[in-house]
């Protein structure tokens, strides 16, 4: 990236400002994810409600970022690295907003699940998966602000672990449901939660790709193997 400053110093302030909004939004999403995971594990419906309420703040921040970016584009007509910066800000705020939605969804399902008998074993696995995604998000945001392509690439690779954890959970839920149909409702909710967390990982991956685009000017080639193999599992489990 350019270390030099713009001749118009207000331009630097504009770019710094939208990027600091991204960092703030990222922090809020991190909190939402960890709170949602904790609420789910502890059956803490109050905390779950709080996560749902806070999502409005995340959405509002996304809108604020979009309007600030629009203003920068209109006033400064950014080019080259500056252009990539504002484009990545827009894209990343979209990723963060989606992640916030998934956290909110976790909160909603937590309220429903807390009324039902617990499914043994699933809590720990979901917590580990969520933690992994949250660390990935933190690292992705660090990679963004440091313009660290290596770290971004590393995080991107870690998404395979998330996919694997999701596959394992998927099979576990299937087993529970087949063992006892009374588990079906709870397992369906838990499965959606696992799927949402897996999707969060995809959004973190997309943030990492933006970091690479920002620095190199090109999106990375898609060399990651798709690790979600549950569509095969379904056909296998029919027999």
């Amino acid at each position: 990236m350019m270390d030099q400053e713009h001749i118009a110093s207000a331009y630097d302030r504009d770019l710094d400002r939208v990027q600091s909004l991204i960092m703030r939004m990222g922090g809020m999403v991190e909190t939402a994810i960890s709170d949602a995971a904790r609420a789910l594990e502890m059956r803490d419906t109050e905390l779950a409600d709080q996560v749902r309420a806070n999502d409005k703040l995340i959405d509002a921040l996304e809108e604020q970022i979009a309007s600030e970016v629009a203003r920068v584009i209109a006033v400064r007509s950014p080019t080259a690295g500056d252009l990539r910066t504002v484009l990545s800000v827009l894209k990343i705020s979209g990723n963060l907003e989606r992640m916030g939605d998934y956290a909110k969804n976790l909160g909603k399902r937590t309220s429903v699940l807390s009324e039902m008998p617990a499914i043994s074993g699933s809590g720990g696995a979901l917590r580990r998966m969520t933690q992994l995604v949250n660390v990935m998000l933190k690292d992705a945001l660090d990679a963004y602000i440091q313009r660290d392509v290596e770290l971004a690439e590393d995080v991107r690779q870690r998404d395979a672990d998330v996919d694997q954890m999701y596959n394992a959970l998927f099979r576990e839920f299937l087993t529970h449901m087949m063992e006892d149909p009374r588990n079906i409702t709870a397992c369906m909710h838990l499965h959606f939660i696992a799927k949402n967390v897996e999707r969060m990982g995809d959004h973190v991956t997309s943030i990492c790709e933006q970091v690479i685009y920002l620095v190199d000017g090109e999106l990375p080639e898609d060399d990651r193997l798709k690790q979600d193999r549950t569509s095969y599992d379904i056909s296998v489990s029919k027999v």
């Binding site: 350019m2 030099q4 400053e5 713009h6 001749i7 118009a8 331009y11 007509s77 950014p78 080019t79 080259a80 690295g81 500056d82 252009l83 990539r84 000017g217 090109e218």
Partner: protein
């Protein structure tokens, strides 16, 4: 060579007395495309542009070395008549310079001396079309026989554009053609440039990065007499190779 090259410069140096204004420039300009020259003031854009139709010949202390080929033919060869060359390679100057004649005559002059019109009616038609394309017809149609020098700066600039396209040159060199124009006339001139590209090769010098990005397919970044970077406009404005290019187009201290 996959692309059709209209102008090819090889090892071009230009001196004004002791001032070394252009330093070993190699560039291949595509046929039927718009090429933008950008770069800080004094970096040699106008100087290089003037080499392409030998306008530097008119400056006593100016010396040009190296080769400039127009469709493979050396334009500095003894056999080339600069006046004929300038009919093929037209120019719009940085400062508007209408002849001290009527608006009509300013435009009719070129087509007349090159015998492009068979009749008065045909000449009238060329004048009207040229002025229309230069986005000035409506403003001058009722005063065609008043002096061109009596127009406003922006109108003079458009008159000069009309004059330059009246002879249907193969190559049109434009040195900051929109520097004195309002946004409407600028948009009209950009529209004209885009239209000219169907049949002609256009080289435009501009200080507006947005204009270069909008109108050109190729961009050359000049810096201290060198061509630092030359390539697809899309690439230059989204992901330039050279840090000097990036500093310049993003408005940083370079």
């Amino acid at each position: 060579m996959s692309k059709d090259i209209k102008i090819s410069a090889k090892g071009v140096d230009v001196f004004y007395g002791d001032t070394h204004a252009i330093k070993n420039v190699d560039i291949e300009i595509e046929n039927k495309a718009v090429t933008a020259f950008i770069g800080p003031s004094g970096c040699g854009k106008s100087t290089f542009l003037r080499c392409i139709n030998r306008m530097n010949d008119t400056i006593d202390i100016c010396r040009v070395t190296g080769d400039i080929l127009l469709e493979g033919q050396d334009i500095y060869a003894k056999s080339v008549d600069p006046v004929q060359l300038r009919a093929r390679v037209g120019m719009v100057f940085q400062k508007p310079n209408p002849f001290p004649k009527s608006i009509y005559d300013n435009v009719a002059y070129g087509p007349t001396i090159h015998g492009l019109a068979k009749s008065k009616a045909e000449l009238d038609e060329i004048v009207e079309q040229s002025l229309r394309r230069a986005a000035i017809w409506d403003e001058v149609k009722d005063r065609l026989h008043q002096p061109g020098t009596g127009l406003s700066g922006g109108q003079q600039q458009r008159l000069c554009i009309g004059r330059a396209i009246a002879t249907a040159p193969e190559v049109l060199l434009m040195d900051e053609p929109c520097s004195a124009l309002d946004p409407i006339a600028t948009a009209q001139v950009e529209e004209l440039i885009d239209d000219l590209r169907q049949n002609y090769t256009v080289v435009i010098v501009t200080h507006s990065m947005q204009q270069a990005a909008r109108v050109s397919q190729k961009t050359a970044f000049f810096h201290l007499g060198h061509v630092v970077e030359y390539g697809d406009t899309n690439k230059i404005f989204t992901n330039p190779e050279d840090s000097r290019t990036e500093s310049y187009i993003t408005g940083r201290i370079g």
